[in-house]
């Protein structure tokens, strides 16, 4: 099999592994397209925002603050502040991915979901196939996000009226997927305690309306737990 075919196969495998992400991406991108047009953006402007910024929560904040008339410097500052959590994603994947001159643009696809998928799946992907795998998973997720935004901007109201449960049922693919990614990490009492604290903290922050800061704050709570709690060595949870 040629090098080119091997890379295409790896990309297809990455795209296939990323299919569960669509359960979350489709309804959220549809919602973003709808919200953006309601905030006064045209469909193609919403598509450009999804193409260039490509970070769900911060995009909602961006269009919401612009629609509310907030100063643009503040809009940019808060958009970047929400996305600061991304700085810890790259270093974790750097140990798993080969060197390539394409990373500066491919890392654009490093969302929360793609990071979680890559950190979980890359260790079981052959080292020679990892570049292609990441390419397939990231590009598929990015394309779906942009297409979903356009559909949401053009026909969002009709889609949600026709399938009222779309926004309720499909997003469940995300917690199910992340559960399958988190479960293997429950290897001992220390990790189990840190992961449980993190999940509960994230749920509490999300329920209290602090969804935008829930991920970094909850992870910080879990790290605090990980480094402060001590259990006897060698005892499984």
């Amino acid at each position: 099999m040629s090098h080119r075919h091997a890379r295409i196969n790896a990309a297809l495998r990455g795209a296939r592994d990323g299919i569960p992400l669509l359960g979350g991406y489709v309804p959220v991108s549809l919602s973003f397209g709808l919200v953006a047009t309601q905030a006064g953006f045209s469909p193609w402007e919403a598509a450009v925002i999804s193409t260039l910024i490509y970070a769900g929560a911060s995009q909602f904040l961006f269009v919401g603050m612009v629609a509310a008339g907030a100063p643009l410097w503040l809009v940019v500052a808060l958009t970047l502040l929400i996305n600061v959590r991304h700085v810890v994603y790259g270093p974790n994947l750097a140990t798993l991915l080969p060197r390539s001159r394409h990373w500066p643009w491919l890392m654009h696809g490093l969302t929360d979901q793609v990071f979680a998928l890559a950190l979980t799946r890359l260790p079981v992907v052959d080292e020679r196939e990892r570049f292609g795998w990441f390419l397939g998973a990231a590009l598929m997720a990015w394309a779906v996000w942009i297409i979903g935004t356009v559909v949401g901007a053009v026909a969002g109201e009709a889609v949600t009226a026709y399938w009222p449960l779309l926004g309720d049922i499909m997003p469940f693919a995300l917690p199910a997927l992340f559960l399958t990614m988190t479960a293997p990490r429950f290897t001992d009492r220390r990790w189990s305690a840190a992961l449980t604290v993190t999940v509960l903290a994230a749920m509490a922050l999300s329920l209290s309306g602090a969804t935008n800061v829930a991920i970094p704050l909850a992870a910080a709570c879990g790290a605090l737990c990980f480094y402060t709690l001590r259990f006897p060595a060698g005892r499984c949870a």
């Binding site: 359960g23 270093p91 399958t180 909850a218 879990g222």
Partner: protein, 114 residues
């Protein structure tokens, strides 16, 4: 969109891209230089899985929280976990979880409306 709004979009996009790219390239440089595969600081290796757990926590909260959606969430996650323990894969456990969650939500709609 006005020119200033376009600039705000570009600044947000560029800043987000840099936050994704620069730490990745920095770590790859450390790995290939003198520090080898142990270049990843311990706290960063801990933070990776915890970030995934945090995303899980945020995603668990139902779109429209109610007793029914929480029940459907609990049963859906149970189905996911049980199938994951058998298959250790991603696809089927997710499909099973969504099916159980969706079936409960649809059934409740039928009961409520019918």
């Amino acid at each position: 969109m006005s020119t200033s709004l376009w600039l705000a979009v570009i600044a947000s996009a560029l800043g987000t891209l840099l936050m994704r790219v620069v730490p990745f390239l920095w770590m790859q440089r450390r790995l290939s230089a003198r520090e080898g595969p142990n270049a990843l600081p311990g706290w960063l290796a801990v933070l990776g899985p915890l970030m995934i757990a945090a995303v899980l926590g945020v995603a668990i909260v139902p779109v429209n929280p109610s007793a029914l959606s929480w029940l459907a969430t609990a049963l859906g996650l149970t189905a996911t976990l049980l199938l994951w323990r058998r298959t250790r894969s991603l696809g089927w456990p997710v499909a099973a979880g969504v099916s159980v969650f969706g079936a409960i939500m649809l059934l409740s709609q039928v009961v409520i409306t019918g």
